[in-house]
């Protein structure tokens, strides 16, 4: 048994936080571009969401100098952190589209991929439920569409068959569609695991660095561009992949990228307590309308029950893109209650909203040599980015080989898997399964709702990506995410982080500068 909290083998990449006066140690602080070396990067990926991290993971298998960069202070912190936590089978995609192709490929990848990333995946399957006569009439077309997407195991179920599988299904259910390929996954750990392997394989990661512009190099040949951060650091790069999600338009304007229009499509979700989990056995999907896929009800891999999302198109840069509304949450409860009886009386523990990157030009807009040679734009991942992250990474690398002249030679020392020692993970507990090397602090619970120990938090702080914000710890350990929403654990958690890292407790943040846990400018008074 590998010892908990010790990543073996060696980490070859560099990790820095661009966090001038902030809550990270001196050794992690980015102060000059020289820290990353003088040699230009072969590829710089702007945007460490699940798409960027997946690409970094795939590129790390080759002998290349790669940089993964994000404006936020953890990977997977933007669009990738708030979604329905599902792996889609692509049964409802547009047949023949790139999305359909990517989802079909990815569906076959995921069981093996989850095992390599060491993240939990639960292939529980989905049922699309028709609750009106009109919806029932649409089932046949939906089945045909699924078969056209090569989801051949999709078939129509009668109301009786659904009730056998889902005793708490709404009494209005008329029939449905069985979609065996849908799975539950930990959406946070997908980005984190990709990035950890990439870092171990030598990909450099720079967090908290907003790219304000691109200085284009001059052809002929593969020109040397520079990424310029908001605080003026210049990073030399040969190729740039714009995977900046909702920031991709602003970045593309910086290098004269082609026309595309994106906007945040807000999805509000409602998370129910674990007592609601037995209510539902599958991922329950509504019959989509022309406007939206509608409100689904799904278990989460964490053992909760989830309902959502809404689909509200908001203008780009709207600060409310990740805000919930009383009205939106009411609509989610209504929508969920159409599928599941008794949902409304289940205790709610949290509401959240995610902003999908909706693109008027369709899902997965990919442009090579966009604006200048060596630049790839990938945008519009909308709602299937997590699922497609792996097949999209392969697709992008193929494109870079063909269109950008990227030469690939496999790195024989590269890891393909997260090692067993890549703990912590909330699903592997130090005291479970006869583990013998747990420490005493692995037995001291800090988060009482999810039963997370101080030891697990210390191990997470020591993990390769050195998470330093409360939200980053939450995504790794599930601390702060139980029914009390940090009531009991916020202050003790901050005490542990401060004690373990030496960062002043008053400097600690929820998710980076400006999100200090107490009003800034105070010094701690110790009793």
């Amino acid at each position: 048994m590998t010892q908990f909290g010790t990543w073996q083998p060696k980490i070859r990449g560099k990790l820095f936080y661009n966090w001038p006066q902030g809550a990270c140690e001196e050794a992690l602080r980015f102060t000059s571009a020289g820290q990353l070396g003088v040699e230009p990067y072969d590829v710089a990926i702007v945007g460490a969401g699940v798409v960027g991290c997946g690409l970094a993971y795939r590129l790390s298998q080759y002998d290349l100098r790669v940089l993964l960069i994000d404006r936020l202070h953890d990977v997977g912190e933007g669009t990738s952190k708030a979604n329905s936590a599902l792996i889609h089978s692509g049964y409802d995609a547009k047949p023949g589209s790139l999305e359909s192709k990517l989802l079909h490929e990815a569906e076959a990848d995921w069981p093996g991929l989850a095992a390599r990333l060491k993240i939990p995946l639960d292939p529980i399957g989905g049922i699309m439920m028709a609750v009106t006569d009109e919806q029932e009439r649409q089932l046949e077309a939906a089945e045909k569409n699924a078969h056209a997407n090569r989801a051949t195991d999709v078939r129509i179920l009668s109301a009786t068959e659904i009730r056998e599988r889902e005793p708490n299904a709404s009494p209005d259910v008329r029939g449905g569609l069985l979609v065996p390929g849908e799975s539950l996954v930990d959406p946070f750990m997908a980005s984190i695991a990709y990035a950890e392997i990439a870092l171990a394989n030598g990909v450099d990661i720079l967090l908290g660095a907003d790219i304000a512009g691109v200085e284009l190099g001059q052809p002929p040949g593969a020109p040397l561009h520079h990424l310029v951060t908001a605080d003026g650091h210049r990073l030399p790069v040969r190729r740039i992949v714009n995977a900046a999600g909702l920031g991709s338009r602003r970045l593309a304007d910086g290098y004269g990228g082609g026309a595309f229009d994106i906007n945040p499509r807000r999805g509000q979700f409602l998370l129910f307590d674990k007592s609601a989990r037995p209510l539902v056995q599958h991922i329950l999907l509504p019959v989509p309308t022309a406007h939206t896929k509608g409100v689904l009800v799904a278990p989460t891999i964490f053992g909760n029950l989830l309902a959502g999302p809404t689909a509200e198109d908001l203008p780009l840069e709207d600060p409310a893109a990740t805000h919930t509304t009383v009205e939106g949450i009411r609509r989610v409860v209504e929508g969920g209650s159409r599928l599941v009886d008794g949902l409304a009386r289940q205790p709610v523990i949290a509401t959240y909203a995610g902003a999908r990157c909706a693109c008027s030009q369709g899902s997965y807009v990919i442009r090579h040599n966009d604006g200048a040679p060596g630049i790839v734009t990938v945008t519009g991942a909308r709602s299937t980015g997590l699922t497609a992250s792996i097949s999209l990474a392969r697709h992008l690398i193929d494109g870079m080989q063909k269109e950008l002249g990227l030469e690939l030679s496999p790195d024989s020392a590269a890891l393909d898997c997260r090692p067993d020692s890549a703990w912590p993970g909330w699903w592997r507990r130090p005291f479970e399964n006869g583990a013998t090397d747990a420490r005493a602090d692995h037995g001291c619970a800090v988060c009482f709702c999810e039963v997370i120990s101080g030891g697990e938090i210390r191990d997470a702080l020591d993990s390769p990506l050195k998470p330093r914000t409360m939200d980053a710890l939450k995504r790794r350990t599930r601390v702060l995410s139980g029914r009390c929403q940090g009531f009991d654990c916020q202050v003790p958690l901050a005490e542990i982080v401060s004690g373990h890292t030496g960062i002043g407790i008053a400097q600690l943040t929820k998710n980076g500068p400006g999100s200090e846990l107490v009003v800034p400018g105070q010094a701690e008074v110790t009793a």
Binding site: T325, Q346, P347, Y352, D441, C484, Q490, K510, L517
Partner: protein, 320 residues
């Protein structure tokens, strides 16, 4: 504690109610008794309200007719507990219960361990309702949206002010005491908002806290959202009222900590999370009892202590 140890009575929770049970059982000569507390000290919520000069005493000690700091009150209770033979397990959390077998699974510094008992008392206290549970408060998920427990944790534990311009959500005694604590520690005059038309704290209670603050009150808020980008910048109602601040404190309106009962299969009402009582303080399964704020509502520390003493009587009757 060797695994599989059997006790006459197991008490879950070492706050005022749990201590009351332990003291009551000791007076009756019932033992062995184990008291299981998930934090590193007994005393529960009042213990976080540290005694300090210039602070706000918020706990009524009815038996002596005065208002004191939580730490003083809980400290006196802890002393009474220390005089008993109760086995006390600190930093030990019950993670699972088996109601029929009266078996508890614990996580504590030595690992995972099972304990059985002839009777079990649930004295797990309560927590404050989250914005999602309120239903009328949505908006941004930012830093500096906290609970009263965070105010005491930051202020009494570290001398740090969680907000300089606080917006307090809630209007019961806890909300008023939170507003008073913030003001006494140097915040601006707090703004207080609630869904109710008039504050739920009584007139006498409000008069008491006037010594430190008279929060700016706005009632009748039907739907509102927390504003802010990375940190809370106040609250805005759907009809356009705006309360500016640099921290939002979610105060009062307690939710009983009944998750062990709920997930273990004891009868619990939903969505209120209230325990269903068979009679008195007895729960749906014979041999299970509850004491203190886990029974629902909001009661002071001394009420919880005496309620624990009463539960001890009921446990004694059951064991006979």
């Amino acid at each position: 504690m060797s695994c599989g140890q059997h006790f006459k009575v197991a008490i879950i929770g070492g706050g005022p109610a749990g201590i009351g049970v332990a003291v009551g059982l000791a007076k009756r000569g019932i033992g062995p008794v184990v008291l299981i507390e998930r934090r590193a000290e007994v005393g529960g919520t009042p213990m976080g309200y540290r005694k300090k000069p210039g602070g706000v005493p918020t706990f009524v000690e009815w038996t002596r007719g005065r208002v004191v700091f939580g730490e003083e009150l809980a400290g006196r209770m802890a002393k009474r507990l220390a005089k008993t033979d109760t086995t006390i397990r600190l930093s030990a959390q019950v993670t699972q219960i088996d109601p029929a077998e009266k078996r508890l699974t614990l996580l504590w510094p030595e690992g995972v361990c099972d304990v059985t008992a002839d009777a079990v008392v649930l004295a797990a206290g309560a927590r404050e309702q989250t914005p999602a549970e309120k239903g009328w408060l949505a908006g941004a998920r930012t830093a500096r949206v906290g609970f009263t427990r965070h105010i005491t944790g930051w202020l009494d534990g570290h001398g740090l002010l969680p907000a300089r311009k606080p917006v307090v959500v809630g209007s019961d005694l806890i909300a008023y005491s939170a507003a008073a604590k913030l003001r006494a520690a140097g915040s601006d005059k707090p703004v207080m908002i609630d869904r109710r038309r008039s504050p739920s704290a009584g007139l006498f209670e409000r008069l008491f806290f006037r010594r430190w603050t008279r929060p700016d009150w706005s009632g009748d808020v039907t739907a509102a959202g927390i504003k802010g980008d990375r940190s809370a910048a106040g609250v805005q109602s759907s009809d356009g009222q705006d309360w500016h601040g640099d921290g939002v404190m979610i105060c009062g309106e307690l939710v009983p900590n009944t998750e062990l009962a709920l997930l273990g299969g004891l009868a619990v009402e939903l969505p209120s999370r209230q325990l269903q009582l068979a009679r008195g303080q007895a729960l749906s399964e014979p041999g299970w009892f509850a004491a203190g704020n886990v029974l629902g509502g909001f009661h002071g520390a001394q009420w919880c202590y005496f309620n624990g003493r009463q539960a001890a009587r009921r446990v004694a009757n059951f064991l006979e």
